[in-house]
């Protein structure tokens, strides 16, 4: 018995956090499950499984996606960035640093997705307004913080990045 009884697993090559990987997966398996179970990248979280909460957000070729809604096949040949790929050589990404400093993470379950949504925003807009930050993060639900300290962390990270750029 199989989840996908009439379909065979296929080889899906893609790039995750800069590394080439090839996984054996059902074409319609969720990218989220491939990341978590096959690649042990458990920093990507499942909150709702229906694309509402954003906990499973990753960047796919620079686009913010809910990995619970992305079939594994679709990742074929793509660059996927997960939270594990953000810090470089053990050094925090500027957003991770700001989240830590400004209280952006409480229970931490939405944090990886939230940070990736913020990365996506700062890639598009180097100096977002508070309203733009709120809009960009509105697909990522957080039940702990009431968002203020997340928004402040993102604003501060943007400031710091502009300064160092």
């Amino acid at each position: 018995m199989d989840r996908f009884p009439h379909v065979a697993k296929i080889q899906i090559p893609f790039i995750v956090n800069g590394k080439n990987v090839t996984v054996q997966a059902y074409p319609m398996e969720r990218l989220l499950d491939v990341l978590r179970k096959q690649l042990q990248l458990t920093g990507t979280k499942e909150g709702c499984g229906e694309g509402e909460c954003g906990s499973c957000s990753v960047l796919m070729d620079g686009i913010l996606v809910n990995s619970c809604l992305v079939p594994a096949l679709q990742a074929s040949g793509c660059h996927v960035l997960t939270i594990e790929g953000l810090a470089s050589q053990g050094k925090f990404h500027i957003l991770q640093e700001a989240f830590q400093e400004f209280g952006g993470a409480q229970c931490g379950i939405c944090t990886p997705g939230m940070i990736l949504a913020a990365v996506h925003l700062l890639e598009r807009k180097s100096e977002p307004t508070m309203d733009e930050i709120r809009e960009a993060l509105s697909g990522n639900l957080c039940r702990c913080t009431g968002y203020s300290q997340i928004v402040e962390a993102v604003a501060e990270a943007a400031r710091r990045r502009c300064k160092t750029a």
């Binding site: 018995m1 229906e50 906990s55 400093e101 209280g103 931490g108 944090t111 702990c144 300290q149």
Partner: protein, 758 residues
């Protein structure tokens, strides 16, 4: 006094690095060799007798581990207050989603189909779907009278006040169920070894609740049950009692399978089957003078406990004690009652009864003001509790709290007066109506009455030869900052750098029972014990001649090294002792209900759009007195997060019930606030200090849940001049109140909206 070096500073969150890098291990991130996955077969009807369980075709049932009530080695219950809730229904089901059977398989993808393939034949019994139906007792579903618990709080004499009163003001206020909606759904892993017993790892608040429940369920002695908390992705009370059920299920499957079993709920299962905030109904009848002074009154507070008793008596107790708000009642009679219905049991959720009764109190204060034609400010000033006065349980306020001053400050911060004037003119025209609303309230920290005495919490602090210190508590971190603040307290007590203190993972094999992580008790009660256990380490080193009174971290390390070399493990323990002179009568519900209260005044500014009927919160001022703020960043985070949940409670979060089952158990149709739905919530603290808590801290976690709903509904009423006495208050509620049965034109004209457009 020596200035604090660690306490009061926003030091880095202990587990912050792991959280921002995704390295934290939550239960679903953990994999054990040979692990199976478990699923739960649940009742699809609210009440009935199980006649037959049918295993459908097309599934190879031999591959599944199947557990029913008959497999339970101990007692079939989730041991808590009463042992009335079965772990698996055997004969009767008493609510929708009640667990009946458990399945496990190595392929988690196969489980949903298998659950679906099982059908159960029932002899249905009539369900009791509302509190009113329960009260009528036409169908008895619990005990003799469907009543889980009652309390009466009486102060003074009500006789005569009704005749003395210039006015008698009545009101009825209701609140709905609310889902905790932690973003990490519930989950547990269990493993069983005949020699070592059962071990569970999970997302949870209270390791020792589960420990007790598993001993009863599995028929195992204390040393053969081990409970370990994994990183927990939000809880808010929602992981206080229900995790005992899931741990029980995982344990039963693991015992039968001989392999570890993981159960992770999906969102729909989590929302429909686990606990929610108790729906409530509060009736006020209040005798007041012309100037707005309360002479006395009756408060009737009723909550819907659902199908089993679980924590309802305790929720009821807190709701009843808070029902009089931060006001002085010369006389009062509070009658509180928790009733049974055929809903899944309602349970702990931040605030624990207080948001319900305080919503009523603060709406009723505005009702009194309107009746008398005085301002909402004036009616509160007339009645604020003053130091030296007694609460409804006759607890004398010893703190130098000045609620008038707090109200002044909140009004100033929110620019209340000038905005009120401005809105009165603005509201004459156009579809956007603006209003201001106030809520004043209090929240008791720690367990109620003699609760802390019964708990008798124990805390340990361990010093190692390398001079580092480890705090041993069962108190759990789930976002609030437990690990950080308790480490700060230990570091402060030992005058060590914050980095030298770590926290043991809550594991019942490692840590003592410091009580559940609930009731805003961790910082004040557990923190106090951490402080005294840490001081025990210091005293031991000093009295054994290894350390001077004044020492550096290096000297502390040398002393620890010497001590450990001579004596081995170096631990200091501290057990809760009730402060002297504390009086509480469990029978009459009279006395010192809480060791300390936190106090607050919140002001909400709202806009109501009469074209969409949506309400937006444009500004929110949250001013509170919580004693010493030990970690300003975390404290502010707690307040903003609580206010956000309060805004959800007020305006967004509606559980839709049909025949006893939640119909909107998904994030798609149960709506919580997003970053775009909330204003920048403004947080302010006053710090009076407190004699009971560590470094003067009081409880903070639940307080911010109490105020937003009444402040917002008061503001909506201010904007529209229409009464709303229920939350959640959704656009459709406003629409039907305004439009009613075809009277829209009149009401809209009254509200300044020209018919036929703007």
């Amino acid at each position: 006094m020596v200035p604090h070096s660690v306490v009061g500073k926003s030091v880095p969150r202990k587990e912050g690095r792991e959280k921002v890098t995704g390295a934290s291990q939550y239960v679903d991130d953990m994999v054990l060799p040979g692990m199976l996955f478990g699923a739960t077969v649940r009742s699809r009807i609210p009440r009935g007798r199980i006649r037959k369980i049918n295993f459908g075709t097309g599934i190879n049932w031999n591959e599944f581990v199947i557990v029913s009530a008959a497999d339970i080695p101990g007692k079939n219950c989730i041991s808590l207050i009463a042992d009335d809730q079965p772990c698996l229904a055997h004969d009767l089901v008493n609510h929708c989603e009640e667990p009946i059977l458990l399945l496990a398989h190595s392929d988690r993808y196969l489980l949903p189909e298998a659950v679906e393939a099982i059908s159960i034949d029932y002899d249905p019994l009539p369900a009791v779907l509302t509190m009113e139906q329960s009260e009528r007792c036409s169908e008895i579903i619990w005990g003799q009278d469907n009543v889980f618990k009652t309390y009466i709080i009486e102060k003074g004499k009500l006789d005569g006040i009704w005749a003395q009163a210039d006015s008698i003001v009545e009101g009825e206020y209701t609140t709905g169920a609310q889902e905790q909606l932690y973003i990490e759904t519930n989950g547990m892993i269990a493993a069983f070894d005949p020699a070592k017993g059962v071990t569970v790892w999970g997302s949870l608040q209270c390791p020792y609740y589960i420990h007790k429940a598993l001993m009863t369920l599995c028929g195992l002695p204390a040393e053969k049950v081990r409970v370990v908390q994994m990183e927990t992705g939000g809880a808010f009370g929602g992981k206080e009692e229900y995790p005992s059920m899931i741990a029980g299920h995982a344990a039963l499957l693991a015992m039968k399978a001989g392999k570890p079993v993981k159960i992770i709920y999906d969102r729909l299962e989590d929302m429909t089957a686990t606990t929610k905030r108790h729906p409530s109904r509060t009736r006020h009848r209040t005798a007041v003078t012309r100037s707005g002074k309360i002479l006395g009154g009756e408060i009737d507070f009723t909550i819907d406990g659902g199908a089993y008793l679980t924590l309802s008596p305790v929720v009821l107790s807190r709701g009843a004690i808070h029902a009089g708000g931060p006001y002085f009642w010369p006389s009062v009679r509070i009658s509180a009652k928790a009733v049974a219905t055929s809903a899944p049991p309602h349970g702990a959720f931040r605030g624990f009864g207080a948001p319900q009764s305080l919503f009523a109190m603060e709406r009723h204060m505005d009702r009194i003001a309107q009746t008398l034609g005085i301002s909402p400010i004036e009616v509160r000033r007339q009645n604020f509790l003053q130091p030296g006065q007694a609460t409804t349980t006759e607890q004398v306020i010893r703190e130098s709290i000045d609620l008038n001053k707090m109200l002044d400050r909140a009004l100033e911060l929110s620019d209340y007066d000038s905005k009120k004037r401005k809105f009165e003119i603005q509201n004459l025209k156009g579809p956007i109506k603006k209003g201001m609303g106030i809520a004043a309230f209090l929240h008791g920290a720690g367990f109620t009455g003699s609760g802390e005495r019964y708990l008798g919490s124990v805390v340990g602090v361990e010093a190692s030869a390398d001079g580092t210190v480890r705090v041993l508590v069962s108190s759990t971190e789930f976002g609030q900052g437990t690990k950080t603040v308790l480490s700060q307290i230990a570091a402060e007590a030992l005058t060590l750098p914050f980095e030298n203190v770590s926290m043991a993972q809550p594991d019942t094999q490692e840590v003592p029972n410091s009580g559940p992580t609930v009731a805003s008790r961790t910082v004040m009660v557990v923190g106090n014990l951490v402080q005294s256990a840490a001081l025990g380490i210091r005293q031991t080193l000093i009295s054994s001649g290894l350390l001077r009174e004044d020492y550096s971290p290096d000297e502390f390390q040398a002393a620890c090294k010497a001590y450990v070399a001579k004596h081995g493990q170096f631990r200091s323990w501290s057990r809760y002792e009730a402060p002297s002179g504390i009086f509480w009568d469990d029978e009459k519900y009279r006395g010192e209900a809480y060791a300390a209260f936190a106090w607050a005044v919140y002001v909400a500014e709202v806009s109501v759009d009469l074209e969409t009927y949506s309400v937006s919160v444009d500004d929110f001022v949250a001013l509170q007195e919580v004693g010493k703020v030990l970690h300003p960043l975390l404290a502010r985070g707690q307040i903003i997060g609580g206010v956000a949940q309060g805004i959800g409670f007020a305006l967004y979060e509606k559980v839709v019930w049909q025949n006893g089952r939640m119909q909107n158990g998904q994030m798609t149709n149960y709506i919580m606030p997003t970053s775009q739905d909330l204003p920048a919530i403004r947080v302010y603290f006053e710090e009076l200090g407190n004699i009971h808590g560590a470094y003067g801290a009081k409880g903070i976690g639940e307080l911010p849940m109490d105020g937003p709903a009444p402040a917002i509904v008061n503001a909506v009423e201010d904007a529209l001049r229409v009464h709303f006495d229920s939350v959640p208050l959704l656009p459709e509620d406003i629409m039907s109140a305004l439009d009613g049965d075809g009277t829209a034109g009149d009401l809209h004209r009254d509200l300044g909206v020209a018919s036929g457009g703007r």
